[in-house]
């Protein structure tokens, strides 16, 4: 029987992200963004951490320039996923241009977690997640005044748990574990000193711990 667990997993992850999309819609609305602006962010920008960062600055009455620069800095994360994905998703021409738009945390993790079906896992997750993220944003913005805080449901723990579930099977060697631990130490140590979101970028330095070690 072919392994289709990527479908169930990709859908479950997308559903959880869809609820976060509701949170984003509510947040965008209460921060003064119009429905069209919220939908442009979810439908076109399509990278959650940057979207939240952008709206956070606008909500605090920061300038649009500050909001954009902060959000762009966080978006660098997606460029760091590209290289590893070229191993699994070899495409050329316009397909490569289309694939790039959907390279985010969730699609990368699902692709690496299902190396037997990388392309299917990537696109299955991309399509469900894109759809539910946008539907969530729409519902959140439209129903902002009626909706409570989903954090009370423990949803904020779903996100790290999902990535932990996808990360653990990838920790196959001492070298990989050393990289992961170093990344965590760098990230946690930098939390008090840099704006939110930046510690995860700094964690990329953790790969240097794997230098010179055999695979």
């Amino acid at each position: 029987m072919p392994d289709t667990s990527y479908r169930r997993d990709g859908f479950a992850l997308s559903a959880a992200v869809g609820v976060v999309g509701v949170t984003f819609g509510v947040f965008a609305s209460t921060s003064g963004l119009t429905l069209l602006q919220a939908m442009a962010l979810s439908g076109l920008t399509f990278t959650g951490a940057s979207q939240f960062a952008f709206v956070t600055v606008i909500a605090a009455h920061g300038t649009a320039i500050a909001a954009t620069l902060g959000a762009l800095t966080l978006a660098v994360r997606n460029s760091l996923y590209g290289p590893a994905l070229t191993d699994h998703l070899s495409v050329g021409g316009w397909r490569r241009l289309a694939t790039a738009q959907f390279i985010i945390d969730e699609t990368t993790a699902m692709t690496l977690a299902h190396p037997e079906h990388p392309r299917r896992s990537f696109w299955w997750t991309a399509i469900w997640l894109y759809s539910l993220w946008n539907i969530g944003t729409l519902l959140g913005h439209v129903g902002a005044s009626q909706l409570g805080d989903p954090a009370g449901l423990g949803l904020d723990a779903a996100f790290p748990a999902a990535f932990l579930a996808m990360l653990i099977p990838l920790l196959r060697s001492r070298r990989i574990i050393l990289v992961a631990v170093t990344a965590v130490v760098v990230a946690v140590a930098s939390v008090p000193f840099v704006p939110a979101g930046i510690p995860i970028l700094l964690a990329s330095l953790g790969v240097l711990a794997g230098r010179g070690m055999s695979r």
Binding site: T68, D156, A158, L164
Partner: protein, 102 residues
Amino acid sequence: MTSIWIGIGVLTVGAYLLKLLGFTVLDLARLPEPLADLARLLPIALFAALVVITTVTAGQHITIDARLAGVTVAGIAAWRKAPFLIVVLAAMIVTGAIRALT
């Protein structure tokens, strides 16, 4: 109002170009092997940090709360090879239950 739209436009184009940059210019087939070897490890480093940072921080502060218990239980479940959905639900239920009880 207009400045927000310009911001959204710049962010959208910039975020797309960043996604494209990693997936084209930094294609592993084009990188020298020592560099490609490290680039392959980048998702591991970022996911490990993502898990811990979203579990124990709120803004610029380290905050230990119900999330840590939920994610720890999820980690044990994942390590014991529980299905993905069970792992995620376990985190939500444990975290939500602790919040409801405290």
